[in-house]
Symmetry: C2
Subunit: 255 residues, 2 copies
Amino acid sequence: MARNLLFGICYRGTRYHGFQMQTNALSVCDVLHQAVTAVTGTRHGIIGCSRTDTGVHAREYFFHMKTESPIPEDAFVRALNAHLPQDIAVLSCREVPGEFHARFCAREKEYVYQIWNAPVRNPFYEDTALHYKYPLDEALLDRAASAFVGTHDFGAFCSAGGSVTDTVRTIFDARVRREGKLVTFTVRGNGFLYNMVRILVGTLLEISEGKILPESIPALYVSGDRGGAGRTAPPQGLFLNRVVYDEAWFCTKQA
Amino acid sequence: MARNLLFGICYRGTRYHGFQMQTNALSVCDVLHQAVTAVTGTRHGIIGCSRTDTGVHAREYFFHMKTESPIPEDAFVRALNAHLPQDIAVLSCREVPGEFHARFCAREKEYVYQIWNAPVRNPFYEDTALHYKYPLDEALLDRAASAFVGTHDFGAFCSAGGSVTDTVRTIFDARVRREGKLVTFTVRGNGFLYNMVRILVGTLLEISEGKILPESIPALYVSGDRGGAGRTAPPQGLFLNRVVYDEAWFCTKQA
């Protein structure tokens, strides 16, 4: 009987047109497909936990895959790593119940957005942070970010092109911190709309620039006016940082 | 009268064949030459503080340059950054006395070597750390590294091809620390021989592997036997981290 395997990976997204397979553009999923085929001899269906954009990174990402392959979990991790390029790494593999779905079962996701905040760029953050030259007041932005917490209609913070119709999401936590010149926005929620984190970041930047008032955020949940929110921050600063599933999924051993 | 300008830069060395100009290979110095020529309209002599190898990085690096250009220091920084690629950044520019030399006046240099110590690679350290899969005992290596401290003949820790004949150097400090899976070797001294830091790291790794006894280090200062030291660790983990000049250089204003 086919096993349902859940793989944990991380990847540097710079070279890829996101996770999802695309026509005429290399995706993380394409490269995983090649590695899985090389290891098992068979093409498999790979279901990711999230559609990340071009250039977006993942410190933790999961996909599931049904397979007839008898390869043990640990050996699968090693074999895939041997067939993957340096910018993708498989961290874990575990068997999950047949009905487990990497995307639909995700209870919580955490994203981090990195900003190198200094007049001069940092060559070591070229592909992993936004370079923002003007002063950022992290205490001000941290207070502003608290307006994102709660259950809201985030339709104003969503790019056109997403397929969802229900734009209500719950944000559990949103904060801005500084370590030296690196300013980090961390947001944790039950789900995120297309480009939502990047638009939340763009909104914080425009609050810093005096173009958006922090007090105007709640009205955007009502109006759904994309034009009232900030610009879409560039992708290279964004990391999918953590994906949480109910532990119960991992206690049940499949028959 | 020509000013002598000291520039502080940092760079990600991945794309470059070291700092020094080479025939048929792109160096950091080549790219700086192009930017300086673009900004001033004239080709200048650029003297770096150190010859870094291919793939080695610098968090802090200095070069000096004599110029007739009237461009003020701050404007020079901005103009060069506008003409440089993302993996090189100019951090500072200051006028120094005519006899100041970026290499010969350096009193102290600090290098850092990063090791990602985990069974699985980290895509975010692909070009900025050595991936080392086997367990490293940082306390053991820290004790072993203390044998490098002092004034010694480091001839055994030097690759052939260097031009120096005096292989005596003074190491002020050498330590190994761990933060999670990242193990860092930091060494500070009055100067370093060709490949010296990478060979010190290779020696620590071979101590960890039981191939070299920590007690055997002092004898290598006497024998000068390169074969008794460890392998040359790969370049991508190495950073020139800090370069120190006597403050007195910066107090004297040139006439």
